[in-house]
């Protein structure tokens, strides 16, 4: 086959250069995700919100706690209708709140808190859930039964009550908020991971690896975890909005973050109290929150379709 003069070494090098790059399942999934317009738009919108929230103190002229007594609950200049009591002027494009603070910067500060809680609490639930579920699924047998029975018991507890009690009891400790919400959400994660682990454990390629002499630990690392990752990623994107909702729910009840810091839940609660006179106070935080939740849900759905393509 090889042309005269070429050493075998050389032909092999050429052969290697001609190797066809395969499309891994992740490559395929990425391609499908990018083709999904709803998911792609969501990713862009979310990134913009997150970037604005992160950098708002550097470009916005007003601080989140700056009070302008002359402009309490004033409408933004462009607000339609003539019944607004006063116009805020300046760069107050979202208007002012009941204490005369710029709503735009407060909505973005709310985004900071809500997104941070979303990510951190999800991370907490991810760590606990994946470890717990993977152990139960792998070891199996008695231990599995015991561990899952425990999860079942916890499942039937009305958890939101515990979170509320926790928040009341420990004086709205912000750190605890992460832990409390994460501690609720890990249950589902554990169930998902265990279920996936069990089904993968039965796959022939695991047995094939065992026949190839691969030890238990290496088997978990090389075969099980990469295959469990897909559903976990999907679940994570769907957990974040749930957590954001839970946080805002607590804040709404006055059990979350404390003034002057704020979150979307707090802003919406304030907005609700003034919705007849200053509807923008309800509209903007609610809009931001809804858009964010929308985006996470679209990304989650898009990821699921991308990772598990069955024409839906």
């Amino acid at each position: 086959m090889s042309a005269p003069g070429l050493t075998t070494r050389n032909t092999e090098t050429i052969e290697r250069a001609l190797d066809i790059e395969g499309r891994s399942l992740w490559t395929d999934a990425r391609r499908r995700l990018v083709r999904n317009k709803a998911a792609l738009t969501s990713i862009i919108v979310l990134s913009i919100i997150a970037l604005m929230a992160a950098f708002v103190p550097f470009f916005w002229p007003y601080g989140y706690a700056d009070i302008d007594y002359a402009n309490i609950a004033c409408a933004p200049d462009w607000w339609p209708g003539t019944d607004a009591a006063c116009r805020a002027g300046g760069y107050h494009i979202f208007g002012m709140d009941q204490n005369g603070r710029d709503l735009f910067v407060r909505v973005l500060y709310g985004a900071r808190v809500s997104l941070a809680v979303g990510f951190v609490a999800t991370l907490v639930s991810l760590l606990i859930g994946v470890t717990y579920g993977a152990i139960a699924g792998f070891v199996g047998g008695r231990l599995d039964e015991l561990m899952m029975r425990f999860v079942d018991v916890l499942y039937s507890l009305p958890f939101i009550f515990f979170v509320i009690i926790l928040m009341v009891v420990f004086n709205q400790n912000f750190f605890l908020l992460f832990v409390a919400i994460g501690a609720v959400e890990w249950l589902t994660m554990a169930r998902i991971v265990r279920g996936q682990t069990l089904s993968i454990k039965q796959k022939e390629f695991i047995e094939a690896a065992r026949a190839a002499g691969v030890g238990t630990f290496a088997n978990i690392r090389h075969h099980v975890i990469p295959n469990v990752l897909g559903p976990v990623v999907v679940y994570v994107t769907l957990t974040i909005p749930t957590v954001i909702l839970a946080e805002s729910f607590l804040s709404f009840l006055g059990l979350g973050i404390q003034d002057p810091l704020t979150s979307w839940g707090v802003l919406i609660a304030d907005g609700k109290d003034h919705m007849e006179t200053a509807p923008w106070m309800l509209v903007f935080p609610a809009l931001f929150m809804a858009v964010t939740l929308f985006c996470f849900n679209f990304i989650g759905d898009g990821l699921r379709d991308a990772l598990d393509p069955k024409d839906r």
């Binding site: 009550f161 509320i164 909005p241 609610a286």
Partner: protein
């Protein structure tokens, strides 16, 4: 079925115990107590008050006393609403909450199943996208936004069409009058309608593609029989599994709805009780809710087994 149900109810006893213990100790170990707000009580009076409520005893002894009373059906006095026992408060509040919750769940199940089925039957057509878009909105807009907005629109501004002004009460219970129930039930049911319709659509699409639906169609059965007799029952299984979490979601929602619409249910007691450290009231409500969740979960499991003959009561 009955041995199964009995075993499940017995199995719920430890769960209930864990719930009671957790709530009790969490409330008691925390700093602060129900009478801290009334700071200026003379020491001896405060001592007497604390003794009257057994608050001077060690926590575990208080727990034992509480459990003892609980076995007699006595949930203790409310610390804050001095004239009432917790049992009395719950007797007043529970029917209100239960009525609200059950109406919402029925509405959610009926509407969710119908919408999901319609969407699945028109898969990837305009109807499908419309229903699923609405469902997405229902999931992402939280109860505490829809509640005030709907209250504002229907309660304050009212709807004006064909020369009629259309108002709904934006708050209060009025003994459970139909008009007073419309808004809170709608708000409570909305997210659940959305979730259930998405679930039903997904499972229906899958079932419609299954081999046995193909067999049913190959038998020449009319369309409605294929859908209602062969497909729907299997497509409902995920909904039944979801009923447990749905109930939990409704409970959470009821806290908000009862607070915003000023409905005298136990959800509002809970929020007030938790903030005021009214231990006994919070305990009473939690026990109530937990029992509710356990029973409804059992009902859901039995329903599942009745729908799917492959599941045995094991």
């Amino acid at each position: 079925m009955w041995p199964y149900a009995i075993r499940r109810v017995l199995g719920a006893v430890p769960t209930l115990f864990i719930i009671i213990a957790l709530t009790f100790f969490m409330m008691h170990i925390a700093p602060g107590g129900p009478f801290d707000a009334q700071r200026h009580l003379p020491p001896e009076i405060e001592h007497n008050v604390r003794a009257a409520y057994n608050l001077d005893k060690p926590v575990w002894e208080q727990f034992a006393i509480y459990l003892g009373n609980l076995l007699h059906g006595d949930l203790g006095p409310s610390y804050k609403n001095h004239d009432f026992t917790v049992t009395q408060l719950i007797e007043v509040g529970l029917p209100v909450s239960a009525r609200l919750g059950l109406s919402a769940i029925i509405l959610a199940v009926v509407l969710g199943i119908s919408l999901g089925t319609v969407a699945a039957l028109h898969q990837n057509k305009a109807t499908d996208y419309g229903v699923m878009g609405l469902a997405m909105i229902g999931i992402t807009i939280p109860t505490f936004v829809t509640a005030p907005v709907l209250a504002l629109v229907f309660g304050i501004y009212g709807l004006h069409f064909f020369g009629f002004d259309f108002f709904l009460p934006a708050g209060g219970w009025n003994g459970g009058a139909f008009a007073n129930m419309i808004l809170p039930v709608t708000v409570l049911a909305l997210p659940q309608i959305a979730i259930i319709s998405r679930l039903v659509r997904g499972s229906m699409v899958e079932v419609l593609r299954s081999n046995y639906v193909r067999t049913a169609r190959a038998k020449g059965l009319p369309n409605h029989i294929v859908i209602f007799r062969h497909a729907l029952r299997a497509a409902l299984l995920p909904v039944v599994s979801y009923l447990g979490p749905a109930i939990a979601g409704l409970l959470t929602g009821s806290l908000i709805v009862e607070t915003i619409f000023g409905i005298p249910g136990i959800g509002r007691y809970f929020v007030e009780g938790a903030i005021n450290r009214d231990y006994t009231l919070v305990m009473g409500v939690v026990i109530c809710y937990a029992a509710f969740v356990i029973v409804l979960n059992l009902v859901a499991d039995i329903l599942y087994a009745l729908l799917d003959p492959r599941v045995r009561f094991a």
